[in-house]
Point group: C2
Chain length 356, copies 2
């Protein structure tokens, strides 16, 4: 299979880890007889510096013609004082919206050799394996009006959803639950928000189409508590955009290995954008020590979700797992008796495990 992959390194460590994904994907290509073509484009702060906009037309066009997109990270102090619509994050929001990538998939699973670094007690976090699904192109992030009122004495943002926007993400969640432990937690604030009441109705309607999946409703405040006190009670969690932003980041620190976590933002036809959960990490950028595993695991998610290459994805995940079991890790992690390596070395270890 020949696949066109757009690479958007972005800012900070994004530039360093994107190469790791390329190296690993090239290895997979030659092992399995695929051909991946990579095209690199600018986004975020880099694009602002080069072209004066976080999302150049050229980047959008390239992404529209792609089979999938890999993104490093966007943002950094340098661009923090720019007005809202000229900031690096706008590039990310823009590409999600333009491509219609409505489903954000955030798996959170602990690695045995890293669990000791969790802020949670081992008996609390042990056995946790969560897939958080966040609606990504609706809600408060995009609703209009979003503006100052009354000569600047008031302000309004709008939480707007269409029924079909809720339906498709809820369908995606039920389908994902089917492939896992068949338990779905739907998170809303139905005791306050009208949008949440509609969300809850749709979940209840849909649940009749998926009788094999058990469903529970949880208020967002209760969910924020339970993620900490009983993370292993969850299987798939589905929620709207803003709740998902907060809860997925909350969930991402539970296992103590943020640098390892991948994410996918996909739409129904399989096109998707894949990026590690960690940000651009300006504090360590340029030193060659960033953890490439979140990026590499994002590439694995791409193979699975956009290209249907389940076996190839699983091999990458296994190679990452083996590399950690062998004790190799970048300085952001700690493994007892392990060996600290650079971004490049870590990537080589993964490739080594992939080919043996």
């Amino acid at each position: 299979m020949n696949k066109q992959i757009i690479m958007l390194p972005g800012d900070g460590v994004g530039k360093e880890i994107i190469d790791s994904a390329k190296i690993v994907l090239n290895t997979v290509a030659s092992e399995f007889g695929h051909s991946f073509t990579f095209h690199q484009h600018a986004i975020g702060g880099e694009a602002i510096d080069l072209y004066g906009t976080p999302l150049p037309e050229d980047t959008v066009k390239a992404c529209q013609g792609a089979d999938a997109i890999l993104l490093g990270a966007v943002g950094g102090k340098k661009w923090d004082s720019l007005p809202g619509d000229q900031r690096p994050e706008k590039g990310l929001l823009g590409i999600r919206k333009t491509l219609g990538l409505f489903a954000n998939l955030r798996p959170v699973k602990g690695y045995r050799s890293l669990l000791h670094a969790s802020p949670l007690k081992e008996e609390v976090i042990k056995g946790s394996d969560i897939l958080l699904i966040r609606e990504l192109t609706g809600g408060l992030y995009f609703g209009k009006p979003s503006e100052r009122r009354e000569n600047g004495d008031a302000v309004v943002d709008t939480l707007y959803y269409q029924r079909n926007e809720m339906e498709r993400i809820i369908d995606k969640a039920f389908e994902s639950a089917r492939l896992r432990k068949k338990h779905l937690t739907s998170v809303d604030k139905a005791n306050v928000l009208e949008s949440s009441r509609m969300w809850r109705e749709i979940v209840d309607e849909k649940s009749r189409e998926y009788p094999d999946v058990t469903v529970e409703h949880l208020l967002v405040d209760a969910a924020a508590m339970k993620l900490i006190t009983q993370p292993n009670r969850f299987d798939v969690i589905v929620t709207e955009n803003l709740f998902g932003d907060i809860l997925s980041d909350e969930a991402s620190v539970l296992t103590g290995s943020l640098g390892m976590l991948p994410s996918a933002s996909v739409r129904s036809d399989g096109v998707g954008l894949y990026e590690p959960v960690h940000g651009s990490a300006p504090d360590i950028a340029g030193q060659g020590i960033a953890n490439p595993l979140g990026m590499i695991l994002s590439a694995a998610m791409m193979l699975r979700h956009s290209f249907g290459m389940e076996e190839e994805a699983a091999e990458i995940e296994e190679a990452v797992h083996d590399s950690l079991e062998q004790g190799y890790h970048t300085p952001d992690l700690q493994i007892k008796g392990g060996k600290v390596v650079t971004t490049k070395e870590m990537t080589e270890v993964v490739v080594e495990n992939l080919t043996t």
Copy 2:
């Protein structure tokens, strides 16, 4: 001083713990020569059963004439299927809004004898002492329109704030920080929401009036992470209504003693409503084993914030602390070598410590 206190026991364990507050307050009254008059009224599910509405006119009137209000808890399975505007929670939202109780104060502090029950590792949670201040009468909770659109094919909720609503809660936060460690964390989503950008501007403006307080801005998703990974980096946190709902509940489970946490909802003239953070706990209601300490500590907050009785408040807090150090606790807690007692016995222990 003679003070008129409205008691709203509400539902579930609310009915059982409200008496504990009364007993403790009567003890304080006789020790310090105050006189407290208590008037009991219905709210929430109980009010629905008795009067067909979660917030009877009579209750509102009584609260409007009060010096302060103590609330047990509202809600329960029995009323969960009622339409949104007839649910017990509406009583709570209604009383907050009607009385203009715009500032919700949620202190989170660990008790040494209980920290072992925290889901977090002891080295992570140790030393945490957070005051979370949530805006309580604006934002998505109350903005209009909040309705179905396009024949039910779309839905909208509105996040609306007036400048002065932001200013007064931000002032409250700066003033609170002044009385503590002088560090304020303001939480928003300024990279996406216009309302958050206005919020951030106001915080920056106000910070010039409080040069002795250091301020940091944190995005809500980052705050959700840092509360778990570094809870002891915070002093005062201030944020808008919905973010505050989520983050304050997240924060409430960190110390492992939810049943102990008080809260206050106040306005500028000192009138306030005080309630424990835990809910109506229908699973243990009626058994006489509910933990009364969150309620008792809420009464202490009332003395401090509504009546200016700092010494009296501190004595209650010390009595609670001593009671735990002596090993007494209700079944929701665990203390090594401790003694499990009922709601009534726990209250007696606190009174005993208060009078010796």
